[in-house]
Symmetry: C2
Subunit: 234 residues, 2 copies
Amino acid sequence: MTISADPTPPEDPDQAPAPTSRRELNKAATRQAITDAALALLRTSGPGNFTVEDIADAAGISRRTFFNYFGSTDAALASVTHGFLDNAIQQFKLRPADEPVLQSAQEALMALADPMTVAPLAELFTLTQQSSLMSHSELEAWDHCREQITEVARGRAAATPGAVDELYLRALAGSVISCGKAAMEVWFSRRGADLSPASLAELRHLLIDAMALLGSGFTTGTSPAPSSSASRPS
Amino acid sequence: MTISADPTPPEDPDQAPAPTSRRELNKAATRQAITDAALALLRTSGPGNFTVEDIADAAGISRRTFFNYFGSTDAALASVTHGFLDNAIQQFKLRPADEPVLQSAQEALMALADPMTVAPLAELFTLTQQSSLMSHSELEAWDHCREQITEVARGRAAATPGAVDELYLRALAGSVISCGKAAMEVWFSRRGADLSPASLAELRHLLIDAMALLGSGFTTGTSPAPSSSASRPS
DNA sequence: TCACGCTTTTACACTACGTGCAAGTTTGCA
DNA sequence: TGCAAACTTGCACGTAGTGTAAAAGCGTGA
């Protein structure tokens, strides 16, 4: 599996600003090979129908090495989700500190509603057939994201006078995550793995609507349902 | 483990309206013995430091029988959470159909903020030292509760004209659960397993505040923090 | 009281998971 | 080139979870 030393060292020195040593390249490649193999097996065999050994064989590594990278099959698959959410957090952190958290979340999610970014997540979702409850590692990824949001919100709140309300931070971050998940779940249930522009536009609307619902305190109550998203052509 | 037939049959016939045959009594007793044993081991050995075999031995059953009742150690412990949340759902369903969902949730939770009901959950929480991410079974319990809330909300919305907004239902139910969890987390982090009246009063306030935050759309924004709960003597 | 059918428990076997360990291999660096 | 650190691998071990068939417990009717 390891890449034997390349006899031609040139490889554009101005193209690798990051500390990309051969070690790190190998590790990254192995990591990718594992998730690719896991995803391929998920496609062909279905969830729960393949073992760690299967993944290791397909990735060309030993079973033991697999466990050096991931703690379980689920963890390997959840790296897809992790990647997506890390991306989301990155966008989130870029938002101006004086922007309301809900709007920051909305904007961050908007930046990710493009085909290339959403595709892996959408496939994972459909392949695991939204089995209601995600895997442990999948949930860990979302929870990690929630904690990140909490921290950012805490940092913003700290800039204002008065004690930081821990309940406010946690309730808000948790709700943002829940609403984000809800929007994605509805999208997947409506469009499957459809990544067409129209479908992605609907995803964006769902995300916006979800955050709007949260921001309005779900005031549609039991009365009419003027919100939207129930019918939006594009 | 099984209870040998009781030689004295009398046992008040008017006191057992439920179909409590000896079989069901044995099953219930075994189930209870398992969770008790698991909880005891959690207390003495700490999380992750005992096996299914340990639990089975302590409960006086075989390892195989344990798996007839629970799918894992976590599941056995999560029966505590399951019991609490089932109770909550029951209270929730009793609320009038024309009441706003958020208020129903608030009222249902109020009914459970008493020492006897909260104690087991509080102990479980402290023993697992709020390890940030709950066990899979624990999360399953919360998710089941979320689904129940969704269904109740759907039923209420169906009584009104217009199509039911799936996003609204899911986002609301998810947020309610998140806020409930947030309130409990803050409570546990502040008071540990303190079940004094003052502590429980604070729990009630936290739950009320959490639902209020949700109902107001977290409008405290980045400005002041007039909400409350940050300081409440009793 | 007994005998018959159904349910539950149990022992056994088996596959797979996850980890510690020590030996072998690759990489970074002087 | 040679050494030290990092990485991979095979092996062994304990544990998780499940299928299966035999044994024990329970309900019911004669």
